[in-house]
Symmetry: C2
Subunit: 172 residues, 2 copies
DNA sequence: ACCTGAACACCGTTCAAGT
DNA sequence: ACCTGAACACCGTTCAAGT
């Protein structure tokens, strides 16, 4: 049932992922969902866990940039995935998989959290922009999004690479 | 009218800031709002601009950490302010005040954008956690939020300080 | 144990019609 | 120019009642 919810999220996006629509997909009354989940928020927390489970387990020696990209890619793998994870991360529901992995590759726990917040913010904006593009609600239609988006991500990673202690790959 | 919307946002939060409620506050029918704004999104963009206008103009010589803290404080000044700014930033509506100021203090534009995304992500999480706290929807009730929150913010700023080129204040 | 039916208190948005 | 009235197509959640 969380599988179908994740599937529906990917197809219609978070704004259209309603309890009523999910119920219709399951050919069940909306109220039936409340036997399985106490609230929509709890349902979304289960979906967030599924999304985070896609983060690859790094073998020892993997550098920070690769780990960070793995987390970002997991968030981007499903439509509006970053926003779902963000809202449940805020409520401290859901798995702490991403933070634990980041902390294992960065020493400091505050820095690991900060890096996760950057990845989360970045991925959320990327996905919201994808939606804006699809409905044509953007100011400059002449501008392509995904072009310099990755450059911004890499600039953020470059910044956090300096606190990574263990290995460095910073020129300039 | 955007003033009242900002006021209402601060009082009830984004989830309860509805067009109908705003209309009631103005003692007007909901449909009346659509003469002034084409959609709720457009109304929120106007609110976001008001929020961003609170960012202090830095005099030349102000270091990056101070500028970043000024932006964060502007986002935190009104309830759910960060989320409102985030959603309009994604749609490329609203002012680019924050990014412009950051770019003037950091050289690189990609790094400035990355830093803004970190601040936005961080501030959004902080505010969502405040709400979670207020309704008691958090997992560990024994844990105080705002304590190590600022430490995470400072860890992020420390990372970006290294790309700031102009001036540095990094020990460790 | 799991689901239905019906209700409660809401949403954003449109559009003819009024002043 | 600015607003009302009424409607359309939705929401999340609760709760007695059914099987």
């Amino acid at each position: 049932m969380t599988d179908l919810a994740l599937d529906l999220l990917d197809r219609v996006g978070l704004p259209d992922l309603s309890m009523r629509r999910l119920a219709a997909e399951l050919e069940v009354q909306p109220s039936a969902l409340y036997w399985h989940f106490a609230s929509k928020q709890e349902l979304l927390a289960a979906v967030a866990d599924r999304i985070l489970s896609r983060i690859p387990q790094p073998n020892p020696g993997t550098d920070m940039a690769t780990v960070a990209a793995g987390i970002r890619d997991a968030l981007l793998a499903y439509r509006d995935g970053a926003e779902v994870v963000m809202s449940t991360y805020a409520l401290r529901l859901g798995a702490r998989r991403a933070q634990d992995i980041l902390q294992s590759v960065i020493g400091d726990s505050a820095s690991a959290d900060a890096l996760f917040e950057f990845i989360l913010g970045h991925a959320t904006l990327v996905q919201q922009r994808m939606y804006a593009q699809s409905v044509g609600a953007t100011t400059d239609a002449a501008h392509d999004p995904t072009a310099d988006l990755d450059e911004v991500f890499r600039a953020g990673i470059r910044a956090f690479a300096t606190v990574g202690a263990t290995r460095d790959s910073l020129g300039s």
